[in-house]
Amino acid sequence: MSNPAPFGASQSILAPTLIVHSIERYFLADIVIIAQMSVPETTRDLRVPPSKRGIVRSPIERAPHTRTLIVSKLGEHGVLCRCCDVRPEVDTRNEATRKWNWDVQIMPENPARYPGLAGADAREAVNVAVTRFRLTDGRVVAAQELALFRQRLIDGFRAISTDLVVHGGSWEWDMSWWPNAETS
């Protein structure tokens, strides 16, 4: 059967992106961490399970949560970035990482796997894949954070790779996507 290229098939923020570049692999984690740190944390009050006092449970309450990006290593050079809604000082790291909105895996790829996209002399490639996401009310949850992270990631690659080629997915940023940001 044919093998249509998945990159470029959709311009959504969920679609994978193939980045063909000339950067040494050990820079990958730095680029991801800078992109992670560029996405502001946000706060919102979310419901929390009622606490149990003796045999009586308290009513359902809301508690402040912080939406944050958590980065971890994936294999030798891969990086995982996870967007979570976390209760500061209350959640453990395990609890925090279970409260995910999306995961993005940034994995080095052999450019030879994509001859139609990477070119014969391509040195390095990276596959940016959204491997987990949540949908509710017809929308991607934490979409702004995902779009901004993707744009900052590409920006990092673009800053130091002179022959950068990007295939697939949405990696632009539009200020109107963060509509509450105007302060004056």
Binding site: M37, E41, R132, G138, R139, A159, M175
Partner: protein
């Protein structure tokens, strides 16, 4: 199902299925009733908008789940597992919740199965606009408040001393993954989303050492997001300069820009 496409295409079809269901117009609701007890006490008999979870598993396996996301917990009505082995895909239903011997939210379950089968039987499956629509809907919805304290406007200086040769130091600085505005004797980078905030570095010989001065300028914007991103990127920039130089010279010493370095990022966990 057999005669499958490459795995990225399978992933595309499954993303498509999840998003198509989400934007299908089916009013998917999940009940708080779980067996004889409600998912969370105090929510008896109520319905909430369903959540769809897309998860790539280890190896060529994916899970699409539908259910209730409540109080930070997940209560699934069903999970569809798609496992590819060679040219065969096995579709299995896991974690099925039934009511009166019927699968809860069976409509969504059937919708996904039918769409995946249809897409994978096409000679050249392409996504519809469902992914785009779900993305656009998400980007049009925002409910949080920015938590990052903004420093803009602000001017500060990071100074360092290193024994690295000028050329090596300069090469290291040019490898910093921030957009460069000027690569002359003074190297200037953009900090944040707009070029009005910047950092610039000067290298000077001082005896047998090199002195590096990095001036950081954060311009105030009426846009809170612009200020927050600039502040966070300034912190990331300082961290990167110190890290990049120190990785080649253990004895490199830096001072200054403490107020930028101390900007909080990352939640403190229990």
């Amino acid at each position: 199902m057999s005669g499958l496409y490459a795995l990225p295409t399978v992933a595309m079809v499954l993303r498509e299925a999840a998003c198509s269901l989400a934007v299908s117009g089916l009013r998917l609701k999940s009940t708080h009733e779980r067996g004889r007890t409600p998912a969370i006490l105090g929510a008896v008999g109520s319905l909430s908008t369903s959540t769809i979870w897309f998860e790539k598993g280890d190896g060529p396996t994916w899970h699409l789940s539908l259910g209730l996301s409540y109080c930070g917990l997940r209560f699934t009505d069903w999970t569809l597992q798609f496992a590819v082995s060679g040219e065969v895909m096995a579709i299995t239903t896991l974690n099925a919740l039934t009511s009166n011997d019927e699968l809860v939210n069976a409509g969504g379950h059937g919708y996904i199965r039918a769409l995946v089968a249809e897409k994978l039987s096409e000679p050249d499956p392409r996504p519809s606009d469902a992914q785009l629509k779900a993305s656009e809907n998400g980007l049009a919805h925002h409910d949080g408040k920015i938590a990052t304290a903004s420093l803009a406007p602000h001017d500060t200086r990071l100074s360092g001393t290193t024994t690295l040769e000028s050329d090596a130091l300069r090469a290291r600085l040019l490898a910093i993954p921030f957009k460069r505005l000027d690569s002359g004797e003074v190297i200037r980078w953009q900090i944040g989303l707009e070029p009005m905030s910047w950092a610039e570095a000067r290298i000077e010989d001082v005896g047998t050492s090199r002195q590096i001065n990095v001036d950081i300028h954060l311009e105030h914007s009426p846009n809170e997001l612009t200020n927050a991103v600039a502040t966070l990127q300034a912190k990331a920039f300082v961290r990167t300069v110190v890290g990049f130089v120190s990785s080649m010279d253990d004895a490199a010493a830096f001072s200054g820009a403490e107020e930028v370095s101390s900007v909080a990022y990352g939640v403190s966990l229990a």
